[in-house]
Symmetry: C2
Subunit: 388 residues, 2 copies
């Protein structure tokens, strides 16, 4: 039996991917740009053995059927890339056991599929010793579009490409994680029970029905990608923050222009947006930038020195009975620091409502996928999940 | 003392006006189309007398200063049109007392300024016997853009025009109120405490910051205006309804693409949108169409025969402690009629929340401004409000 255990990180887009030009190959209609996060990752062990009677898959402790079209697509694409690389051997025909888990709640709408598919591909490649020999991002892409961006750490651009076969639709690293060490992230997990439109279904409907989506993809996004790439290179937070917020808003505008509309933001999301604009106004500078994926949770980008007092602004606007619970702020610990008096005064902060946030995650810009030692394996020596 | 008392109706746009090309003359960047409502109107008495020592104004029972720039603009524009018409006389130099009230709550965000300014202009013209001699819609327009559409009953188009002086930015009637007698309207007044962005401030910010607004105005709206005008002429409810919903969504998409975003819809508005789409899906036909102005209240267009059961769908999704109160459904009385069983079954309607609606108004397509007899005057013989 051969095994490999790896992690792959979550990424959050600042220029959003929304709309496919090819549903099967998951080719997007526009470039996107993301930041890879530390602290939040998928961890996957894959074992291959001539003794396994079939392929098996466990996700977050639950065995799943192996016939998900996305998993099958990824494995097929992987095998094609292996063939192209010239690698061969008996082990490629062995059945595999895949065991994967996230270190964050899957249901919270926190880009779990991106980390999951990136981790699947990276772990497969590691298992066969091919991680530097094949293009991993385009394999991850066929599992979940944005997964291609989780193949790298730091700042990543997914180039839409123009080829029909998708060979040029790949992720590239714009800058490594160490490039902008004082950029940090707060994720505000919003309490929400609404049944949501899946992002796959939503973006398909947007492409079919939104009269604005094509104009966005062709006329707006290219300029924004160029400007935000430059802002990242120059560590120009003002530009980075403004484009991030505007592109989040435009993505959700396109969702609303879809028919029937896809609505991912709720009243709490909009209250967060309002608080951040008031904070920036009161600070006399852009202190924080919000972005929202296909769900109500906010992701805030901000500079390290502002994290403690912005956290207090958030806690004051959205008080929780669990404010002081040790697990209310997850991830990197944050020192306490009062809101500067002038800012507090100008914002005139009143609580918006109690328990509107479930918890907060504090992270920073993170590295790409990592190989873990055998001791970290999620599978036993017989290839079954350790925790069951 | 000479007096005139008139009413002017509320109108609700189906192709939305959003964005000005001239802030002072209130010239829009695109045509809009509206339906004039019955039941909901402003009522205004104007008295002119050589004995009045100054101009005075009462709105909904409260005296207001007479120096509002919008009122001054309307009066100036009126005087210019009077001059152009060749009318003259001593009475044009007399001071005036204006008393105006709405028969619906002003604060509910129900297009009260449109009815109010249309009524001001129509009553002024009536006072001087000029209502057929001067172009009223362009005078109303300088008070509140959409007021120009309340100068007519039935179905109305506001032509954006291209002239810098706004002379061609006028309203025209597409069809009279009697044209489509079985088209009716339900207005769902949503409970909401949020401080809202004024529509004037919002549309100014949209023009300055939304990268999509110009594309909407130039590339999307003209086709929609043409199609919906034809649908109105042909009483084609399906097309009318689909364009109405799509244009409401796109208007709110542009608001969200504005920076900082303007947010007028709340969770209840979105829940109403969702219920209407589910209703249409379950009915196997477009039964109702929603549209939202710059506020959370829904305006539903539907056919007369569907009003009773759609009302029951709304009551079941949004139950209220006041469901059975005599003033919960205002306007035209509605017979009770159960939801067709197949529709109820397919919709699988669960209550979304209690008391999310304040009340409902049932109206139909209405006539334009009306002249009332002297007995209806809001002013006493000495020119002061009767009710104070």
């Amino acid at each position: 039996m051969e095994t490999a255990t790896c992690t792959a990180p979550v990424n959050i887009a600042v220029i959003k991917y929304w709309g496919k030009r090819d549903e099967k190959l998951l080719l997007p209609i526009n470039d996107s740009v993301s930041v890879t996060l530390s602290e939040m990752y998928a961890k996957t062990t894959i074992a291959a053995s001539p003794n396994f009677s079939k392929n098996r898959l466990w996700l977050n402790g639950q065995e799943q059927t192996f016939d998900s079209p996305r998993i099958i697509n990824v494995l097929r694409q992987f095998q094609e890339e292996v063939k192209k690389s010239g690698a061969q051997g008996e082990k490629y025909s062995w059945n595999i056991h895949i065991c994967s888990e996230n270190n964050f709640p899957t249901a919270a709408g926190l880009a779990s599929s991106a980390a999951g598919y990136a981790c699947l591909v990276y772990t497969l490649a590691t298992l066969y010793g091919l991680q530097d020999k094949i293009e991993l991002s385009s394999i991850a892409r066929v599992g979940s579009g944005s997964a291609c961006r989780s193949v790298f750490g730091g700042f990543v651009q997914w180039e839409a490409g123009i080829r029909a076969d998708g060979a040029d639709s790949v992720a590239v690293q714009l800058a490594p994680a160490t490039h902008w060490p004082d950029l940090e992230i707060l994720i505000l997990v919003v309490s929400d029970n609404k049944k949501k439109t899946s992002s796959t279904g939503g973006m398909e409907r947007s492409v079919k029905t939104s009269p604005l989506i094509d104009y966005r993809a062709k006329q707006i996004v290219p300029g924004r990608v160029e400007k935000i790439s430059k802002a990242i290179q120059e560590r120009d937070f003002d530009t980075f923050a403004n484009i991030t917020m505007q592109d989040s808003n435009q993505f959700h505008a396109i969702c609303l222009d879809t028919f029937p509309p896809c609505v991912y933001l709720n009243d709490v999301s909009h209250a967060i947006i309002d608080v951040i604009h008031r904070l920036n106004e009161a600070s006399g500078k852009i202190t924080a930038a919000y972005t929202f994926d296909a769900g109500p949770n906010a992701c805030l980008y901000l500079m390290r020195q502002d994290v403690p007092h912005v956290l207090n602004v958030i806690k004051r606007a959205f008080p929780s009975d669990r404010d002081h619970a040790p697990d209310y702020i997850k991830g990197i610990p944050v020192a306490d620091q009062p809101i500067p008096e002038t800012v507090a005064k100008k914002m005139n902060l009143e609580p918006i409502g109690q328990n509107l946030l479930k918890y907060i995650i504090h992270t920073r810009v993170g590295e790409g996928p990592q190989i873990l030692p055998p001791s970290e394996s999620l599978l036993t020596n017989s290839g079954l999940p350790k925790n069951h």
